[in-house]
Symmetry: C2
Subunit: 463 residues, 2 copies
C-alpha cells in the first residue's frame, strides 16, 4: 500500500536514506516543547518504534503535541540517519495528519503494567511491548510448524471439532447442543431425546484429532493436524486452558525411533525459525522475561536429545540422592519433579523417555514384546517438563481388540478405527505438541493465559 513499513526501514535502511516517505501508526509517546517535539511511533509491522521529529512550523504543531498515547497518525517527511543518537534514524516530519485521536483514559499509559492487569484488557494488550512480542512469536511458531511439515510433504488434515464420540477418554468434555435447555425433549422413558438435537445424538468438543488423522495417514502416509482442542477440566493452573491448539503429526511406515526423529527435528526447526525471524522479540524476552532463555534454546539446538527408556529413568531416579515429594517406583507416572530432575540435573538437555508401563498409557499404543510396556514416547524439556507426548500405535488388529476388551471399550464405537488395522495395516507413529506449551517454551512466558489472544479458563470467557 501507500505507506512504508517500519520493518522495511529497519531491514533495508540504506534504500530509504534522505528519501521522502510516508509512515502511519500509533503513538507510543510524545515529548514537545514550544519549538519542537519528538514522537515515538509504532506502525504494527515491527517490534521497534521509529522516532519522528517535528517543529512548530507544522500547521497543527500544537494539536499534535497534545495528542494522547495511542493516537493514530500519518506522517510525511524525510528519512535521515542519526549516527550520533540512540536510535539509528528518524523522520523529519513535513506533515502530521491525525487519523484518530486517543482518549485521555487510554489504559496503556507509558508506565509498566503487570501481566495480571493486562489480562483484563486482552483486546488492548497486544499494543504493549511484551504482548506484541508474544503474539508475533505465536504467529511465527505457527508458520514454522506449517513450513516444517509442508516442506516434508505432509498433508495438513482438518480433523473435526465437533465429535460424537469420546474416543480418547482424555478428560472432561464440553457438551454441544442446540436443544432448548428450558424445554428439553424427552423420550418415552423420560431421558433426554438427543435424536431431536442438531446431529441426532449427543455431541462434544474434540479433545484430540489423533484417531481421525490416523485414518488419513493410511492414505497420505505423512499427515498432521493443527487445530483447537478442548478440556473442560476445572483446574486453575498457569499451564492449563479450556481451549488450546494442538499439532498432531502421524507417520505411516514409521516406528517409535522415527517418531523421536521427527519430534526432535521439529522442535529444533521451531527454535531456529523464531530466532532467525524474531531476533528483536527474542532479545526482549531474554532481557525482561527469562534471562536464561537464549542460552537454554541454543543448548537445545546444539545437542542431540537424550533417549532413555522408562525403566532406565526409574533406575536413575531411584539411585539419585534427590528428595522427591512423590516416591519413585516402577509403574508410577512420572511427576513434573521427576521429569525436571532428569532433564535439568542429569542430562541438562531435552530427554525422550520411551516404553512406559502399559497401565498408565492409552489403549492404542503398541504393546512391546515384554507385554508390560508400550511404545510410548514423551519428550521432557528443561524448565518445563513434558512438552510432547506420543507413541507408536498398535497396528495388530487382534492385539488392539484384546487391549480394548481389557479396558472395557466398546468395539462398535471404534469400528472405523479398527478398519485401519483390517485393510492394509502398517507400523505407524505420531505425537501431540501443545501449541501454547511450545510458545511458552520459546518465549519464557510462564502463564498460558499470556500466550493466547483471548484465553478461556474456568469462569473466564470474556471478549
Amino acid at each position: 500500500m501507500k505507506y512504508t513499513a517500519v520493518k522495511e526501514l529497519f531491514r533495508h535502511t540504506s534504500q530509504y536514506v534522505n528519501q521522502e516517505i510516508t509512515v502511519s501508526g500509533w503513538i507510543r509517546s510524545v515529548r514537545a516543547s514550544k519549538a519542537f517535539g519528538f514522537i515515538v511511533l509504532n506502525d504494527g509491522t515491527f517490534f521497534e518504534n521509529i522516532q519522528i521529529v517535528m517543529d512548530n512550523t507544522l500547521d497543527n504543531f500544537m494539536e499534535v503535541s497534545k495528542l494522547n498515547v495511542g493516537s493514530a497518525i500519518i506522517v510525511k517527511g524525510k528519512f535521515i540517519e542519526t549516527p550520533d543518537a540512540k536510535q539509528p534514524f528518524e523522520i523529519q516530519a513535513a506533515s502530521v495528519t491525525v487519523e484518530g485521536a486517543s482518549s485521555p483514559d487510554y489504559p496503556l499509559q507509558k508506565k509498566r503494567h503487570t501481566f495480571e492487569y493486562l489480562r483484563t484488557i486482552s483486546h488492548l494488550r497486544p499494543r504493549t511491548n511484551a504482548f506484541t512480542a508474544v503474539f508475533r512469536v505465536r504467529s511465527l511458531v505457527a508458520q514454522a510448524i506449517h513450513e516444517f511439515f509442508m516442506s516434508r510433504g505432509y498433508v495438513y488434515v482438518h480433523t473435526p471439532i465437533l465429535t460424537g464420540s469420546d474416543c480418547e477418554g482424555a478428560g472432561e468434555m464440553f457438551r454441544v447442543s442446540t436443544l432448548d435447555p428450558n424445554n428439553l425433549p424427552k423420550t418415552e422413558e423420560g431421558s433426554i431425546d438427543y435424536k431431536k438435537d442438531f446431529f441426532g445424538k449427543e455431541t462434544n468438543l474434540t479433545v484430540s484429532g489423533q484417531l481421525n488423522v490416523e485414518t488419513y495417514a493410511m492414505a497420505f502416509r505423512n499427515v498432521y493436524t493443527f487445530g483447537p482442542t478442548f478440556r473442560a477440566e476445572n483446574s486453575n493452573t498457569p499451564r492449563h486452558a479450556a481451549e488450546f491448539w494442538m499439532i498432531e503429526p502421524e507417520m505411516a511406515f514409521a516406528d517409535i525411533v522415527d517418531d523421536m526423529d521427527v519430534a526432535e527435528a521439529m522442535m529444533k526447526h521451531i527454535i531456529r525459525f523464531v530466532k532467525d525471524n524474531a531476533p528483536e522479540e527474542m532479545a526482549f524476552f531474554n532481557k525482561f522475561v527469562d534471562k536464561g532463555l537464549i542460552a537454554r534454546l541454543d543448548n537445545v539446538l546444539n545437542n542431540e536429545f537424550a533417549r532413555i527408556t522408562y525403566t532406565e529413568a526409574i533406575d536413575i531416579l531411584e539411585k539419585s540422592d534427590e528428595k522427591f515429594e512423590f516416591p519413585v517406583k516402577w509403574g508410577i507416572d512420572l511427576q513434573t519433579e521427576h521429569e525436571r530432575y532428569l532433564t535439568e540435573k542429569v542430562y541438562k538437555k531435552p530427554v525422550f523417555v520411551i516404553n512406559y508401563p502399559k497401565d498408565i498409557k492409552a489403549f492404542y499404543m503398541k504393546m512391546n514384546d515384554d507385554n508390560k510396556t508400550v511404545a510410548a514416547m514423551d519428550l521432557l524439556a528443561p524448565g518445563v517438563g513434558e512438552i510432547i507426548g506420543g507413541s507408536q500405535r498398535e497396528d495388530d488388529y487382534d492385539k488392539l481388540v484384546a487391549r480394548m476388551d481389557e479396558m472395557g471399550l466398546e468395539k462398535e464405537d471404534y469400528s472405523w478405527y479398527l478398519d485401519t488395522r483390517k485393510y492394509g495395516s502398517v507400523a505407524h507413529a505420531g505425537f501431540g505438541l501443545g501449541f501454547e506449551r511450545a510458545i511458552m517454551y520459546v518465549t519464557g512466558m510462564s502463564n498460558i493465559r499470556d500466550v493466547i489472544p483471548f484465553p478461556r479458563t474456568v469462569n473466564n470467557c470474556d471478549i
Copy 2:
C-alpha cells in the same frame, strides 16, 4: 526415512534409474499369472501410482499374487525406465514383504464408487483417486493462504472458538455447556443458573472471529485468522456445513479499495499455487470432475477482476432481458441467479460489487457519504456466485454507536469493540473467505461434504 518416496521417483527420475531402492505403500491392484505379476502401488506421497513387476522366483510369489486390494507391502528392487510402456518406469521386485494384508471385504474394490457412497466411509475415501486429489489440494490451499499472508508480514491470530457473545448475530449458534442436562441448576427465579456453568455464563461456538481480530489489527496492522467456525442452521444444501473453516484478514490504514486489492491478489495466489504444486490432481479434476475447470481458473488468473457498485449492478440487472425468479429492485439482497448473471453472462470473470444498501448489511460496515449505502464488498465468481464477503469498517465512534442504537444492539456487550474506535481509531477493512468454498472453487467439486474430511451437517456427526 528408509523408503524412497514415489513423488521423488516421478520428480527426479534420472537420479534413480537402475538403482536398488525400497518403496512401501498400499496395493491398488494386482494381476498375476503363474510366472509373473504386476502390482500397482500407491505410497501416499503422490497422486500417481508406481508399477511393480515380480516373477515366481520370489519366495512368497503365490502369497503376494493373492493379496487383496488395500494390502500394505514393502518392495525392494531395481528401478528401471520403461520408455515403450504406458507408465514411465517400474520396479523389478527382488523382494516383497507383506506389512499388512487387506481383508476381502475391503469396500474400495477396483470399481468406481459414487461420491454419495464414499461419504458413508469417510475414513477410507482418502484412499481413492478423487479424494486423494481433493484432500491434497485442501492442504495446499491452506498452505497457499498461510504463505500469502505470512510473506506479506501479516500476523496469524487465533481468535477464540468459545465465545460468550453472539456478536455478529450471524445465524443460529451451538450452545456449549458442562452443566448436567438432567439436573440443571436453577436460580431462585427458576431460570437456569449459568453462573454454575464452566465459564460462569452462557457460551456458544463462534460464528466469526472478525470483531476479535479487529482489535489485533490495531496493534499489528495486518492480521488474519484461519480457524473453524460454526452455524447451527438447519439447511441441508450442498453448500452448507455446520462446521467449516474461515479465513478473515483485517488491514489497518486500509480502505475498501485496498480490501479488494488484497482479496484479488489472494485468490490469484491460491489458484497459481495449486496449479503449480498439484498439476496431476488438477488434471484429474479437469478430466473427471469439471471439464471447464482449468480454463475457468486461467481466465481468473489472466484478468483483472471487474469492480462495480451495487447501484450499477442493479442497473445492469434491471436493463437485462433475463427472466429472474427474484425481481430486481434497488434495496434487494442479490440472489445467486443475479450474481451468476453478472459474473457469467456480463463480465465472464470475477466481479467485486461494493457499496450495498445499509439495511441489508451488518452494523460495523462504514457508512458512505450518501447515508444510504455502506462500504461493503462482495466478490462474485463464475460458477459459484459469492465467494468472499467483506467491508471497510465504520471507524468513527459516534457513527458506530448511532448505528448500534438504530439496530438495537447493547453497547455494554461491545464496550471492548468500541475501545478500538476510542483509542487511535484508523480506517480499516477486511473480509471473510470460506475455506471450503475456495476448495470447491479450485477443484470443481460441487458438494461441501466432499471437501471436508469428516463433514458435520444436520443429523450427521459420525466418526
